[in-house]
């Protein structure tokens, strides 16, 4: 007969893998691909610029703000970077009245820019093909 610790271990493992399977499924319906086991499936080169009422931020200040380089390569879905900026600007930086623009090229051929605050009523930021 299985001991109680063995049963607890079994339940833990079922939950542990069950959550992962659910996360993979949920990931099909979200723009960000966190917790879906999606490494290196999209490569974007990006550049972030941030303007506060006092003036534009230097690259080091941008890196400090989002803990991401002001310009670089994102090896996962670009929405990961955008969601970090969105979360910062709606929480820690909500009072800063920052204007953010992210220019990015995904997989070498799709060129977009994303801006904050959102120009749409969704409040989610807006991504537009850069022409």
């Amino acid at each position: 007969m299985e001991s109680s610790s063995g049963q607890a271990r079994r339940v833990f493992l079922v939950l542990f893998f069950g959550i992962q399977v659910i996360a993979i499924g949920v990931g099909r319906f979200t723009t960000t691909k966190y917790f879906n086991w999606v490494p290196y499936d999209e490569i974007s080169h990006y550049q972030i610029s941030v303007t506060l009422p006092g003036g534009a931020l230097a690259p080091t200040a941008i890196a400090e703000r989002y803990r991401k380089p002001a310009a670089g390569r994102e090896n996962r879905d670009i929405d990961h970077l955008l969601s970090i900026i969105r979360q910062y600007e709606t929480t820690y930086g909500a009072q800063d009245s920052a204007t953010v623009r992210v220019n990015y090229i995904t997989n070498g051929h799709r060129q977009y820019y994303w801006s904050w605050p959102a120009t749409r009523s969704t409040g989610a930021g807006s991504a537009t093909p850069d022409r």
Partner: protein, 263 residues
């Protein structure tokens, strides 16, 4: 895994130094001050590797280390890393090891199948755009070949589609213990191939982690005495070669980094 953690993911220790939570996935974590959140993480990060190396309650240490790695990811969106999450899961599963390596097989299988599913649903992987973009991103001695790939949509498409099918194959067949050896060999070739294509610029992390996971599975089977049944011609000597290869690659990479820094 510890080598990878200490040498390749030093940020794990830096971030735990009173700078978490920061833009967490779980908003509730924002309510916990860094002065309260970080010390337990630091304690585990400081003690667990030593305990594992010295063999003092290694499974408990491994489990705690895995939980801390996962907790760090949950506490910081900018810190999010699939490889750190995978490493955390592996440590947790090693901590729960009770004679069967099936959970570790399942973890690696989920990684491959999750990656394959996402690729399969992305048009850029079917029309060659991803591989062409990849070719333009990486340079180095293979630059001429990569430039050729960028201008060869058919070859880029074949590479992209092949990747999807290799990942599906690895993820599915990994669940069959009798196929451990050929699948591990295919997996290692696959990761080495990715390293070659990107000239080590992209896939080092997964080469390390997947090689470590294959070793975990093999060692687990060896410990259970399943060698004879599943791996008739694979002996400890072969595992030693693999470990040697693994460590040699690590040393070479650091040597290259040191030379580049000096000159």
């Amino acid at each position: 895994m510890l080598l990878y953690l200490v040498f390749h993911r030093w940020t794990v220790f830096e971030e735990a130094w009173f700078s978490l939570p920061y833009l967490p996935f779980l908003k509730v974590l924002d309510l916990i001050p860094a002065g309260v959140f970080c010390p337990p993480l630091l304690l585990v990060l400081a003690l667990a590797p030593g305990c594992i190396l010295l063999g003092y309650r290694p499974r408990l240490a491994s489990f705690c280390l895995g939980v801390v790695l996962i907790l760090e990811v949950l506490a910081s969106k900018p810190l999010y890393s699939t490889s750190q999450l995978f490493l955390g899961c592996l440590f947790v599963l090693v901590g729960l090891y009770r004679g069967s390596v099936f959970p570790i097989r399942l973890q690696l299988s989920l990684l491959y199948l999750g990656a394959a599913l996402n690729k399969a649903l992305e048009a850029d992987w079917w029309n060659g755009h991803f591989m062409q973009g990849l070719a333009l991103t990486f340079g180095g001695p293979l630059k001429p070949w990569l430039t050729w790939l960028a201008d060869a949509p058919l070859a880029a498409t074949v590479l992209g589609v092949t990747t999807i099918f290799i990942e599906i194959t690895l993820g599915t067949l990994l669940l069959f213990p009798r196929l451990t050896r050929p699948i591990a060999v295919l997996g290692l070739f696959f990761h080495v191939g990715m390293l070659l294509i990107t000239l080590g610029g992209l896939s080092w992390v997964y080469f390390y982690l997947c090689a470590a996971t294959y070793l975990l599975i093999w060692n687990g089977e060896a410990a259970r005495g399943d060698y004879g049944r599943y791996l008739p011609s694979l002996g400890r000597q072969h595992l030693s070669y693999l470990y040697g290869f693994f460590i040699a690659i690590t040393l070479l990479r650091y040597l290259r980094g040191m030379v580049a820094a000096l000159f």
